[in-house]
């Protein structure tokens, strides 16, 4: 009885977090000030990290907050600061296709929800044991070592490429 109450409380907290995430993402796409959009992006990413916690992916929730909120959003803020006079309130921030974009996005959402409702998933272990960080790291270093190394190669390439592109072309 008591644990059932806690379960119910947990569930309602999930729906509150999901609602807030959707609300902040709508604010992100319609906000006139691009600086506020970056702040809303941080909020959305933290909400998604909380959703990861509900899905037993603790490591990914932490990685999400470290990489996205700690690094990428700061990078966005830096670029917004560097490209000055763009976050002016007087400048129009959306183009002329708002109505048709909204209609197509809503139609797409309707279609996906209809498909999700129709498909019967064969849920095999809904309350199975969560994957521990130890097992995750072990399989990342044994079974999935090739993608892991490829990703590090991509990161090196991005590092070098970003420096070369951002370097001033004056000689």
């Amino acid at each position: 009885m008591h644990s059932g109450l806690i379960q119910q409380l947990n569930n309602s907290v999930f729906y509150i977090i999901a609602g807030l995430t959707v609300f902040f993402s709508i604010c992100l796409v319609i906000s006139r000030n691009i600086f506020y959009s970056a702040i809303f992006l941080a909020m959305v990413l933290m909400g998604v990290a909380c959703v990861y916690l509900y899905l037993d992916a603790e490591f990914l929730a932490i990685a999400q907050i470290l990489i996205y909120v700690g690094a990428i959003v700061i990078l966005f803020l830096f670029v917004i600061m560097l490209t000055a006079s763009i976050h002016d309130r007087a400048i129009r921030q959306v183009n002329k296709q708002v109505l048709i974009s909204a209609i197509s996005a809503a139609a797409f959402l309707f279609l996906i929800i209809k498909i999700i409702k129709r498909s019967a998933w064969q849920v095999n272990n809904p309350s199975g044991a969560a994957l521990s960080i130890k097992e995750l790291g072990k399989s990342l270093m044994t079974t999935y070592v090739l993608p892991f190394e490829t990703i590090s190669l991509i990161l090196i390439a991005v590092l070098v490429g970003a420096i070369i592109i951002a370097k001033s072309s004056k000689r």
Binding site: Q7, N11, F14, T21, V22, S25, I26, L28, V29, I34, A38, L41, V44, L45, V48, V51, Y52, L55, A57, L60, A63, I67, Y68, A71, I72, L75, F76, V79, I80, T83, I86, R92, Q93, V94, N95, S101, A105, A106, F108, L109, I112, I116, K117, W121, Q122, V123, N125, P126, G128, L131, L140, P147, I151, I154, L155, V158, A162, I165, A166, S168
Partner: protein, 102 residues
């Protein structure tokens, strides 16, 4: 226990909002932010499918880790390109960037 469908619907809503942002934003930075939103919607789907339908080996979580890394890399490259475009044209509105169009 929250059913699988609710996670999928949350992912679908975030994905549609991201698509709307990509289609309507004039600023290139706003477009990049919407793309991050789309990445996150896909990640929610990956982890939800991994928990409810996975074989227990955590493939979905590893894939999500790779997607987060790729998203970081794409954001860095996109922002660097925006800086380079801003240095040359002094604005970052995507509908004004048409130097390589024809």
């Amino acid at each position: 226990m929250i059913p699988l469908n609710h996670f999928l619907i949350l992912g679908a809503i975030l994905f549609s909002i991201g698509i709307f942002g990509v289609l309507t934003r004039r600023s290139a930075i706003g477009i990049l932010m919407s793309i991050e939103l789309i990445f996150n919607a896909a990640n929610i789907n990956f982890i939800a499918f991994n928990k409810f339908l996975g074989a227990g080996d955590g493939l979905g979580q590893i894939f999500t880790l790779l997607v987060i890394t790729i998203a970081a890399a794409s954001a860095v490259i996109g922002l660097v390109l925006i800086i380079a475009v801003y240095r040359n044209t002094k604005n970052i509105f995507a509908d004004n960037i048409n130097l390589m169009k024809w």
